[in-house]
Symmetry: C2
Subunit: 247 residues, 2 copies
């Protein structure tokens, strides 16, 4: 284990924010067997993973019986699968009742990046779930292991910042689609057009186009109140900020 | 749940055989929390997953304390992550002591597809592990769910067949590299040369080149004693057998 530094915290947060899916481990109700299955993922404004699960699924039944779970995120790609960073988040799962005031915001964030899930998200047996992190194990590649706390994973927020982020996103998507495409081109090398911002948080945002998603971090660190406009102006202006981009 | 048929069995076996890595869920020794982490994978001749783990890892300590685990295999790719088939194998893990007679064969199969693991496979704290399947949950995409038994996952073998498979592989790689490249081209569309057969079993084989691996099924079903020669002759001869190929 190595001492946790800002680079480790940022990598862990990026892995959660950028994950379209992950492996969720739960306890099988009948016998307590550990059970891993694939789930689609989003994150709330502070960085808690969001799930959408059918009450008929094994993992929903398991979490209704015992809320303890872990979530493995971080995709492999070319080369050795163990050379790619990954994170195991240990968490307690909390299902959101249909009438809960927080449901609409979670639903919005989830469907912004999984548009096809709108087909079944409102079925009576489906629930959004939030994973409340308790800690995490980060493996950044060979011999780069870190043990993180919940505080290492979550962003602090500011009064009114989440609403400001939503307005900034809607404004960018509605009135500055060309700027979003320019960001996609300059920051993650995507040359096609038609990108839109799916979700924003204090330290970055995700752009989507069909089934492709990229996470982009704000180069200047966490946004202050009222700071989204300046951040996007800067991102569009930057010529070669590739070292701040992740995919 | 749908009734298990041969297509479901074949898909499940292909997912195990073709997996270079997977998510392993175990029980954290301190508190029984379910813990998911990434592991490299191979399979033994009958289809049991093989792991190589450091005794210092959380999953090794967990399995030493409680052998129950599950393994999620089946990679995503383009498009909706939930549209790609995946399999959760419930299993008991068994570590292989250094002096065990079966270790050399498992080591051979594992290193044939993870060559870089030779760097640490023989370190004193590393052990090969075999997962003895108890059953599995197959998700073949939306609304295609199956519950399988251990028998559904494992191939029956024949006396002497494993040794014959090893000889067939070594002969193909040593004397017919051009035929292996031709199979790579015709069956999985790989145009580069330098492919070699990593592991063979009764129903198919894996070819590797660097960090790329493809599973290819034998078009005629399980091989009979002494049948490997005919199977490879047929595979090289076939012009367009793409419907038998998987990657």
């Amino acid at each position: 284990m190595q001492p946790v530094d800002d680079a480790a915290r940022q990598l862990a947060r990026r892995l959660i924010r950028g994950a379209r899916h992950g492996a969720l481990a739960v306890l099988r109700p009948a016998d307590g067997f550990p059970a891993a299955s694939r789930v689609l993922l989003a994150s709330d404004f502070t960085g808690r993973p969001i799930l959408l699960v059918s009450g008929l699924s094994l993992h929903a039944k398991a979490l209704a019986n015992d809320t303890r779970c872990s979530l493995l995120v971080g995709e492999t790609g070319k080369g050795d699968p163990l050379a790619h960073p990954r994170l195991t988040v240990f968490a307690e799962a909390r299902f959101i009742p249909p009438e809960d005031h927080s449901r609409e915001g979670l639903r919005e964030r989830f469907l912004a990046r999984h548009q096809k899930s709108a087909l079944y998200a409102d079925f009576p047996d489906f629930r959004f779930g939030v994973l409340e992190p308790l800690g995490a194990a980060l493996n950044g590649g060979f011999a780069r292991a870190f043990e993180l706390t919940a505080d290492d994973l979550l962003d602090e927020t500011l009064e009114g910042l989440e609403a400001a982020a939503l307005r900034a996103r809607d404004h960018m998507n509605a009135d500055h689609g060309d700027a979003v495409d320019m960001i996609a081109s300059r920051h993650v090398g995507e040359t096609k057009t038609g990108w839109r911002i799916a979700t924003l948080d204090r330290t970055g945002f995700e752009i989507v186009r069909g089934d492709t998603l990229h996470r982009i971090e704000f180069p200047g660190g966490p946004v202050a109140a009222g700071g989204y406009r300046d951040v996007f102006v800067e991102l569009v202006r930057q010529e070669d900020p590739s070292k701040n981009a992740t995919d």
